[in-house]
Amino acid sequence: MPAAWVAALIGLADDHLILGHRLSEWCGHAPMLEEDLAMPNIALDLIGQARGLYTYAGDLEGAGRDEDALAFGRLERAYRNLLICELPNGDFAHTMLRQFYFASFMQLFWQETESSTDVTLEAIAAKAVKEAQYHRRHCAEWVIRLGDGTDESARRMAEAVTLLAPYTGEFFIADPEAGGAVEAGVLPDTKALQPAWQADIEQVFAAAKLVLPENVYAQKGGRSGLHTEAMGHLLAQLQFMQRSFPDMTW
């Protein structure tokens, strides 16, 4: 895999790190003990995936940056994650819907990547696809439960849909840094995943009695390092130790 696509891998890794970080903020504060186990579990998978991707990106880049240099050592404008990953957690409905949107997308993404022409990515995908399937199922169940639960849970789920829908369009915008990687069969064409993703959302929303949002204006910018104001505060936490104690071993 050519080093030209390193930035695309970093973007993918950033998605997983940043969303895993957000999810980990729930740890010890979940609505029930089972979710105090499930959410860190998902976060762990995401961080594991991020580690594999950063390490591979660092190797390809050949500039001596390891997973931690990439995860902790960049400025905000150099993080390339999709905006949906960095949004504050909101309530549990919001967190579960975001995770469902993302997992549904990643399940399709990793399925395609399982037949990548790049053997390392193929291997990462083979493990990640199973994890994404579990995440998708777990979160879809919550979307259904909350969408078709009480009046309050349905209202909160509907609010989450309104708030999050604008951030799903970015899944399907081709990463400019992945130019050529798609044609080379290394990374999937995310645009092509949209119909299957849409069908998955529709099916779950139908079971959840949720109304599909229409005429949504897609927010974008994450892949160009254009983040929301939440990102800087997240990074102040994430990078705290590495910034306060540079160049040490932990």
Binding site: P31, L33, D36, P40, M241
Partner: protein
Amino acid sequence: PEFLAAFQARIDADEKIEPNDPMPAAYRKTLIRQIGQHAHSEIVGMLPEGNWITRAPTLRRKAALLAKVQDEGGHGLYLYSAAETLGVSRKQMTEELVSGRAKYSSIFNYPTQTWADIGAIGWLVDGAAIMNQVPLCRCSYGPYARAMIRVCKEESFHQRQGYEIMLKLAEGSPAQKEMAQDALNRWWWPSLMMFGPPDGASEHSDQSTRWKIKRFTNDELRQKFVDATVPQAQRLGLSLPDPALAWNEAEGRYDYGEIDWDEFWAVVKGHGPLNKARVAARKKAWEDGAWVREAALAHAKKRAARQSVAVAAE
């Protein structure tokens, strides 16, 4: 009285008591209290370490810490289940915790101020917990004993992980070594307090010992902990914050200084640095999550109703 004697005979014969076995009310009550406190400790214990998940210094450490805190939640779950076999619900126990009535291990009322605290907690707090818990693997109440076997296995993994964090710091830069020493200074005495009041002042002990719920006294366990931990500190090149600490050749153990029991009782009574914050955090999680639990219940009912309609229509 006959029943009590027969029960004691079963205990003496090292038989395990199981949920449906007859048991004295006081035995049940003691276990409910102890297992409940133990479960609450696991749950509240997620908070001080959870405080560093978003600031862990490397991805490897972040993942390990996340997994550790998750394990603690898992321990809470086994323990609540064990308590439930005695007829108390998780909801009841949680309400006791969030109302501030239930006790949990006082150590979790101290703050985690630096990354080294994560190492110190793993090494010392989990280490002390293991000392307390290993004998519980042979506890007379079956479900508790079995939960403890699983818990102890994971705790000793956590303890090694904590020690390894300390080791990396102790081998690191002067700033890291200082951080490690400072954490040890702050966590040492509270760790010794984890074994509870000195034997003279401890309630419940005698009966618990007869029932094989407790197998060693507080001071015995504390001594074991000191004896195991002092050489570990030496290997780290860190010093323990106790000028009275010295090897007692005659007794084959370490002598240690006087514990500040005023501090111990103050924290037990709710005046530790973070007692109020810990209970408030659990209360907030519980109250903020009420709508989720209600929705899950409502959805399950709707689904059951739909299924029975479907079945009826067949």
